[in-house]
């Protein structure tokens, strides 16, 4: 946490750091702390989002360490028992511990969110650079992208899942495909404006070839907007994974995910509301944290 704050803090323009001599290590530590404090003051949403996200991620990564049990262990005698000392979030229809399952469910959500964000940005950027730079491809491909974007993402993902076996890998594929055209559009728009930039003309005049221009002049300008977009893709992928699993077309039942825990609790809303309440709270909090990070990054990196 502190290291990431520090790294990001280094990017914030501010007054020059006070001159510190080697004899005054205390002053240097203070200045780092002061810079961190200034960063927190300027970017409260980003910092809050990062803290919440770090706590949730720690929950998922070190799931066995948080007083959890076996997420698949069934105790029929204790089925549908209300939250109490032994089961903090109660138990589900099979007597499984909802707290344990919710903590383990963090893993699927974070893996899906991160992988979908990275994969769609990498694939979308590659395709977007190519489409944006070769005029002959551009007109046709953009019509195709318009068509693909007219299909609501959740319906496209559902249709893809209907044809694939339920697995985390296939959920990721089904969520990446609808996102790619959206990344392509952002990348292409930037390429079109940068292509006419003086620095690109200059590089061309010096004999630079297209791949070099893409890598050295266009791609660096895309990094900030793409990081922001990746964050928002991550947030929506986490939500969509839960939607797909809730509808029975996502993560298979033997892997606990927030969506399928809630799907199993659907029948017991009136009897055992806790099965839905707690995983949903975690889901909402995680998505909120990622969105806060996205909003914060947009401000820090000055995108749009």
């Amino acid at each position: 946490m502190s290291s990431s704050t520090h790294v990001l803090g280094a990017d914030v323009p501010g007054p020059p750091p006070p001159v510190v001599s080697a004899r005054e290590p205390v002053a240097e530590r203070l200045s780092a702390a002061a810079r961190a404090a200034r960063f927190v003051r300027r970017q409260p949403t980003l910092v809050l989002g990062l803290i919440v996200l770090a706590v949730i991620a720690a929950g998922g990564v070190f799931a066995p360490a948080w007083w959890t049990g076996d997420p698949l262990e069934m105790r029929p005698v204790e089925r549908l028992s209300a939250p109490a000392a032994g089961h903090w979030f109660g138990t589900d229809n099979f007597g499984r511990d909802v707290y344990t399952r919710t903590i383990y469910g963090t893993r699927v959500s974070l893996i899906v969110g991160a992988t979908v964000a990275i994969a769609s940005v990498v694939l979308g950027t590659t395709l977007g650079l190519i489409i944006g730079f070769y005029r002959r491809l551009d007109a046709v491909m953009m019509r195709v992208m318009d068509g693909l974007m007219a299909i609501p993402a959740i319906l496209l993902a559902l249709a893809l899942m209907a044809l694939m076996k339920a697995s985390v890998r296939n959920v990721i594929i089904a969520l990446v495909i609808p996102e790619i055209p959206r990344v392509i559009r952002v990348v292409r728009a930037s390429v079109l404006s940068l292509r006419e930039h003086t620095m690109v003309e200059g590089a061309r005049a010096l004999g630079a070839r297209t791949p070099r221009i893409l890598a050295r002049y266009i791609l660096p300008a895309l990094v900030a907007p793409l990081i922001v977009q990746a964050t928002f893709i991550c947030a929506s992928a986490i939500l969509f994974e839960a939607y797909l699993s809730f509808l029975g077309a996502g993560t298979p039942p033997h892997i606990p995910s927030w969506g399928n825990i809630m799907a199993e609790g659907k029948t017991y809303v009136q009897l055992a509301f806790w099965i839905i309440l707690f995983p949903g709270l975690f889901l909402a909090l995680t998505v909120l944290a990622v969105n806060l990070v996205g909003d914060g990054l947009r401000e820090t990196l000055d995108v749009r």
Binding site: R143, V144, D146, G147, L148, A150, I151, P152, A153, I154, L155, L156, L158, A159, L160, M161, A162, L163, M164, A235, L239, A242, Y243, F246, L247, G248, A249, M262, K266, V269, Q270, F273, I276, L277, G280, L283, A284, V287, L288, V290, N291, L292, D295
Partner: protein
Amino acid sequence: MLPEIFRRLVATIPVMGVVAIAVFALLHVTPGDPAVIIAGDYATAEDIAKIRSKLGLDQPFLTQVGIWLGRIVRGDLGTSIYSGLPVSTLISQRAEATIALTLFAMVISVSVAVPLGVLAAWKKGSLIDRVVMVFAVSGFSMPTFWLGFVLVYVFAVSFHWLPVQGFQPIERGAWPFLRHLILPALTLSLVYMALIARMTRASMLGVLNEDYIRTAFAKGLAPRGVLVRHALKNASLPIVTIIGIGFALLIGGAVVTESVFALPGLGRLTVDAIIRRDYPVIQGVILVVSGVYVLINLVVDMLYVVLDPRIRY
């Protein structure tokens, strides 16, 4: 104006063509033999062969594309493998609940979000502004179906004010119809509301800095008049645009909301079709819904002329 509407309508044809081909290609780009997947785990070789010939999968690929496009142009969406009924019949049977739900949610969202956004922009930096912005970010992060269950638990299970789930067609009276739709529409509208409120605020902030707003205030007009007639009207283009684009969110949310509230709509039709691997139904729903989305955004484009007389087509 009229020729322009016609020109725009024609321009949607390539987009819809891409949608149609993409929906068709789905069957072929996914790994495995589609006939085997659709037939399910317990199918015999005969079942698979039957499905293959029924869906025309035994034809060459380009022939299949041609047949598919030809059928769509004639309005034939195929027949359901599960029920044997025409897909267009199934869709029209289920359309009422979905149209009622999304329209109701749209009305709620716009009538709450636009005033909130205007207020937040007018009182920028105030407590109201912050509350609206927090609401917008958290509304946007809210899992639709979870919100639905929470509302059901509070208003239906605990207080018994509203029904837990179900749908009443409008022929049975307006009140039962609305009563069953209040919770689903509220559930569905939150995300959309957050989106519109945010856009309204951002757009209003841009306009409120203009000189003519200062002039309007300076000549002593009431704030309400200035905000609505001078500011909101000029800030309306991005708001209308986001209402059109956000419609995709509304459709996605409807699929999940219908499942929570057991509404017999298109979302339920799709989810049931997915469980039964009834692919013609899935393709038909996607095609129709995407078409509606394209048309809604066409209407939004046309509204620009009404809202901003400077734009001429």
